[in-house]
Amino acid sequence: MEPTDHLFRRESGRMVATLTRIFGIHNLALAEDVVQDAFCRALEVWKFHGVPENPSAWLMATAKNRALDVLRRERTARTFAPELGRMLDSEWTLAPAVEELFGAPAIHDGQLRMMFSCCHPRLPEEAQVALMLHILCGFSVDEVAGAFVSSHAAIEKRISRAKKVMAGSKRLFDVSGQGDLSVRLPAVQRALYLLFNEGYHGASPESAVRAELCREAMRLTALLLDHSPAATPATRALSALMCFHAARLPARVDAAGDLRPLFEQDRSRWDVRVIAEGQRQLDLSATGPELTEYHVEAAIAWVHTAAHGVEDTNWGMIVSLYDQLMAIHPSPVVALNRAIATAQREGPQRGLEEIRKIAHSDRLASYPFYHAALGEFEFRSGRHEVARQHFLTALTFVRNPMERRFIEQRIGACKVGSPVG
């Protein structure tokens, strides 16, 4: 039997979270060592004897046995999780306590605790996301650096600082207290949102779409949905948003490996099952007084999925949803998207006017799609040479070969002069 895709990476998060719950957050490094140890063991044994029937259970059982060894050997020298108190001191209570913490409900709970702990208020957002990716998704420092287009040294520093802050919090975040949970939940949602976006719009030099990051963000969001105090309307809206975007992933890159803008995607390749799940979550999100940016963004994505093509898309609705989004969470990127929707409804000239009105547009100066949008509107207005200049500027800011090819095609279209899109 072949180990399934990313088995070790996936199990790593579950194992580290579970062990940290037993050892205590200050012993995170010990938990990571035990996991590393279990993995090396699996590698040694499996390569000779093959992968066992249930590899996840094998890994968890190995981690559990190693945890028991460590607890017995070091319980006088070290302090472990304060929540478990004296449970770990006597042999009578040790084994049953550990057994319970390795049960399915506790493993689930452990991951949630870790997720909330990663979103410590003293950590900047990018550190929270890096920490989640590293601890809960089992990404190595290099892999996290790859995801954020950052250097190994920078990410290593970011993660080790973040771990120190987390270790200083004495204990893992307690997800059973409703009050504390609702205070930190927005930070967790935000981190998951950023993680998903990094996969969807990310600036990775290799590929514009890293479905893996999206999948991980969705997997962690599902943990929130399974824990009713965390399954708030905002969490459901976030989940809906992820579903609608994820459903389009198969069409976002075409057979030739080229990036396809929404306008040109083969909509038959959208995943209808994922769209249906998004719709379900969006329906469930429509309760309570709070309208979050996730609600609005999910609604925008839903309007797109509901249309058969660009022509029958309800652009008026999309523009007004962007107005709402600007009211909740104004940003130059949101304003740019609003301008693009306006152009769809009222023509490229209106699009150009809207782009010129964007506040803080200097923050878009190095965003390739800002220049691409300008180029597109000029092109559609028949000013091909002006359009070409914008696309050439866009070309200097592309972040991966896919974006490069996309912009180059547009430059080519300007030369030929034939209308595109």
């Binding site: 180990p3 090396c40 499996w46 190595s140």
Partner: protein
């Protein structure tokens, strides 16, 4: 056909989950290929990297590991090959070589000398 023992020394440690997984997949593919070509007499066993060392007449018992980490034998396989040259050639596909490890190729002594 002659028999050879491959002793796997060193390699692996402190690697990310994804790298460990890739390493495992490489090992399994390598063993599979050796097996399909009829070179595996006995796939062998992994060995714990700890143990005891019992020495000389005094039978003094000391703790392993017995060598530096890079020299510790982590497992063995019994291989069938035409000659030492072929066995060495086969060992060159071993994934342990990608992770700073080594394969020791040792001919099994034959009865009929």
């Amino acid at each position: 056909m002659s028999e050879f023992v491959f002793l796997y020394r060193g390699g692996e440690s402190g690697r990310s989950p994804e790298r460990i997984q890739q390493s495992m997949q490489k090992w399994m593919a390598w063993f599979k290929e050796l097996g399909q070509n009829g070179h595996v007499k006995d796939q062998g066993q992994p060995l714990e990297r700890t143990g005891k060392l019992v020495k000389r007449k005094q039978k003094t018992v000391t703790d392993g590991p017995f060598a530096e980490a890079k020299d510790i034998v982590g497992g063995y396989t019994l291989i069938e090959a035409r000659d030492l040259a072929q066995a060495v050639e086969l060992s060159k596909g071993c994934p342990i070589l990608d992770v700073d490890g080594a394969v020791e190729v040792r001919p099994v002594m034959k009865l009929n000398m």
